[in-house]
């Protein structure tokens, strides 16, 4: 018992650094992923993947590790998405913060759900956010934008979530697990 306590107390620089890096992992992954998607591989649908990816990031980390993806990082990621994707400045920042707020509000009920149920809930959230994005951008651009890209974006978000969630769960239990430091 005494030995365990002594192990717990040992906090040198390296352990602090390890903890900090694990703590920063989700935010860093979110921003870098956003940039990496821009590398031109000639694959179709990359433009729709970027919002889908960021929505999955915000949803997952707000649900399972909210302290690692604070609101300023989400706002920054939203601004970055707006600047990269030529959408009105600040629009995605607002939308992602709304998504984070909704996820945090429903967190207690969502955290116990199975993966499939979570996927369903995320799809609902993603559809709503995408619809809001469409409405907001139509309003700001003063023209009705076509609905097909909206549908594509929702389906991309729906399809890509299991893959991203699998990666995030790996990270959540491995490289980003603060308690393992």
């Amino acid at each position: 018992m005494a030995r365990r306590a002594s192990v717990r107390r040992e906090m040198n620089v390296w352990r602090r650094l390890d903890m900090a890096s694990r703590y920063a992992w989700p935010a860093a992954l979110t921003v870098f992923g956003l940039l990496i998607i821009g590398v031109p591989l000639g694959l179709p649908g990359l433009a729709a993947l970027r919002p889908a990816y960021i929505m999955a990031c915000v949803y997952f980390w707000s649900l399972y590790r909210p302290s690692s993806l604070p609101a300023p990082v989400v706002a920054l990621a939203g601004l970055l998405l707006d600047l990269l994707g030529m959408s009105p400045l600040g629009m995605w920042a607002v939308l992602l913060l709304l998504l984070q707020g909704a996820t945090l509000l429903a967190r207690r009920r969502l955290i116990g759900l199975s993966f499939l149920q979570n996927w369903l809930v995320f799809s609902g959230f993603a559809a709503m956010v995408s619809l809001l994005a469409w409405a907001l951008q139509s309003l700001l651009d003063l023209q009705a934008l076509p609905l097909l890209p909206l549908a594509v974006q929702i389906f991309v978000a729906l399809g890509v979530y299991p893959l991203l969630a699998w990666m995030f769960i790996k990270a959540h239990r491995g490289a980003a697990a603060v308690e393992l430091a």
Binding site: V39, P40, L43, A71, V74, L83, L89, G90, V94, L140
Partner: protein, 294 residues
């Protein structure tokens, strides 16, 4: 490190999200009020990102020999067949073209034809495929020789080896953003077929832009060549854009010649006289300034 009491910290953490939300809404309003702000920020960000993207995409380009082939790996066999067929056809056309070139030369000599001057052009690598759900654009990194006078690049026409791919909408110190012809906001006056019937090619965000405003009595014919038209002064005439195709009745689209999804290298042509037309109004003066000697 600042030590705060637990309730205060909880209250602060609860406040962050609403505060950030208000700030973001403020950003939307500011972006609305000052349209140039987003462009300037985007230009600055592009300048920072372009070298990094160039570094990352270099191995990708090396791997596929600069041909944009990773996305096409799945259809190699079909493409090979198509290329063989196309090559056979092109070899026939080559002889026709050579004969026509000789005839053209002879006719030009007879007419004392003065050729239009070749516009200044630059080669730029596509380093990132950027764009949103409602925007299609690519980021190109500028060669070092272009850096001092990148301002005149806004409005330059971007072509890949085969046809018009888009237009430069923003140019920073190291990078430029090319709005592709498939973008929703892209409108290009075109001339159709041998008679040069005028129409407007409008991007739809899909792969093939659609054709609008063609003369009601004369619908564009399937397979007609689509060239840029000088109407409106936005484009020089005669640049190849694509081929007319009908997906559905009464709904002609243009199959672009440029490989829009696999752009690697773009030629940016600066036509000095037509610069201000498609450029955002707040950025570029409407009338070209007269040259002054210093």
């Amino acid at each position: 490190m600042l030590r705060l009491s637990v309730p205060l910290r909880q209250a602060l953490s609860r406040l962050t999200l609403p505060v950030m939300l208000v700030l973001s809404l403020g950003a939307v309003l500011i972006g609305r009020a000052d349209q140039g702000l987003a462009d300037r920020l985007r230009g600055a960000l592009d300048d920072v990102l372009a070298p990094a993207y160039a570094l990352v995409s270099a191995p990708v380009v090396a791997l596929e020999h600069g041909s944009g082939a990773i996305g096409q790996l799945f259809s190699l066999e079909a493409q090979n067949q198509q290329l063989r067929a196309e090559n056979a056809k092109l070899l026939q056309w080559q002889s026709v073209a050579m004969a026509l070139a000789a005839q053209n030369d002879a006719l030009k000599t007879a007419l004392n034809y003065v050729p239009t001057p070749t516009p200044e052009f630059f080669t730029a690598h596509v380093v990132a495929d950027l764009g949103g759900v409602y925007a299609r654009s690519v980021l190109v990194s500028l060669p070092p020789s272009m850096i001092q006078d990148s301002g005149k690049l806004v409005g330059a026409i971007a072509m890949d080896g085969r046809g018009v791919a888009g237009r430069v909408v923003e140019a920073g110190g190291r990078s430029a953003r090319v709005l592709l012809i498939t973008d929703l906001n892209s409108r290009i006056p075109v001339a159709l077929g041998v008679h040069g019937l005028s129409a407007l090619m409008a991007g739809t965000n899909g792969a093939d832009p659609s054709l609008l405003y063609w003369a009601p009595g004369k619908p564009p014919a399937e397979g007609d060549m689509v060239l840029t038209s000088a109407e409106g002064g936005a484009f020089p005439p005669g640049l190849p854009v694509g081929v007319v195709h009908y997906d559905a009745q009464n709904d002609p689209v243009v199959l672009p010649l440029a490989d829009i999804d696999g752009l690697r290298l773009l030629w940016l042509f600066c036509y000095p006289s037509n610069q201000p037309v498609l450029a955002p109004e707040h950025d570029v003066p409407k009338v070209a300034k007269p040259h002054r000697r210093h």
